[in-house]
């Protein structure tokens, strides 16, 4: 693991996870895929989608445990399975990334206070 300075004052732990996560996010949002990049980015951000995707992707992001066979069947009537595969991944990684980045921001704030 590496330790690096992000700002003059902030000395924050920086590890391979940051790099790997960025690579994953770039790949699923912007790399080649069956779903359009616009659709993948919308799923990642959980915003700007139309039904039936809107409700389904919101469930993936916020209440995945409530997803039923019927939810998936409804989406299958609108897009292909490969597109569903990609959009579910984008929604899941998107929500987890927002959590991770929010937590890192809080960790940075504390780290800045310690080092200032």
């Amino acid at each position: 693991m590496k330790t690096t300075k992000l700002t003059n004052q902030s000395k924050i732990v920086f590890s391979e996870v940051d790099i790997l996560l960025k690579q994953l996010v770039t790949r699923i949002k912007d790399g080649p895929g069956k779903a359009t990049t616009d659709l993948r980015r919308s799923a990642f951000n959980n915003s700007g989608l139309k039904e039936p995707l809107k409700s389904f992707i919101d469930k993936v992001a916020n209440t995945a445990y409530t997803i039923t066979d019927n939810d998936v069947s409804l989406v299958k009537s609108a897009i292909s399975e490969d597109e569903i595969f990609e959009l579910v991944i984008c929604a899941s990684v998107g929500q987890s990334t927002r959590q991770f980045e929010n937590a890192l921001k809080a960790l940075n704030e504390v780290d800045n206070n310690i080092n200032s």
């Binding site: 693991m1 490969d82 579910v88 929604a91 960790l107 704030e109």
Partner: protein, 193 residues
């Protein structure tokens, strides 16, 4: 699984690999493994590295503690597949089922160290409320947890908040206890590579 492509859409070579794993373990292949091998350039190849690094990379948290974090996050997300898999793996790593079950049922009274308890509370706030603040971080640090340990725990949190959602959305099947324990042994000996 709910998508047919995740049940059958694999290359001949990958199908052979699946058959080999099934023959060696004498257990069905977990859906969590299948998802990694479906179009791996899109997701699986990247996520394998992240999960391996978070769960088996160098850290002040032991493997048992990180597997316990995985089980705890999965419990918070109500993910049956991951609860079963990582309860079994952390139990095997600790060789203490009582400790693991206590954490999952009542974190406040579970027989674990205060630094670990405070870290699990932080992960709970992040997983259930999607956000934490500097006061939450200070609370954990006051128990002696380093910034690096918090960062490492956030890596585990990322991995399982992602995997839990995939498991629930795609409908990962929960196998028999024997198969779950076989999977736990595999994860402890081989990791997530």
């Amino acid at each position: 699984m709910r998508l047919n492509i995740l049940n059958t859409g694999y290359s001949f070579g990958t199908k052979l690999l699946f058959a080999f794993i099934r023959a060696m373990s004498r257990q069905p292949l977990p859906d969590a493994a299948k998802i990694i091998f479906y179009r791996p350039d899109f997701y699986g190849a990247h996520m394998r590295k992240i999960t391996q690094f978070a769960m088996r990379g160098v850290s002040e948290w032991s493997v048992a503690e990180r597997e316990l974090m995985a089980a705890y996050i999965s419990k918070l997300n109500n993910c049956p597949f991951c609860i079963a898999a990582h309860t079994a793996t952390s139990t095997l790593a600790y060789r203490d089922q009582n400790k693991v079950l206590k954490v999952l049922s009542d974190l406040d009274t579970a027989p674990i160290t205060e630094p670990l308890r405070a870290t699990l509370r932080l992960l709970k706030t992040l997983t259930t409320e999607q956000t934490i603040n500097s006061e939450d971080i200070w609370r954990v640090k006051s128990t002696g947890v380093s910034a690096q340990q918090i960062k490492d725990a956030l890596g585990v949190c990322f991995a399982f908040n992602t995997t839990n959602r995939l498991a629930d959305a795609f409908g990962f099947e929960v196998f028999s206890q024997k198969a779950i324990e076989s999977g736990a042994k595999y994860l402890l000996s081989q990791g997530y590579r």
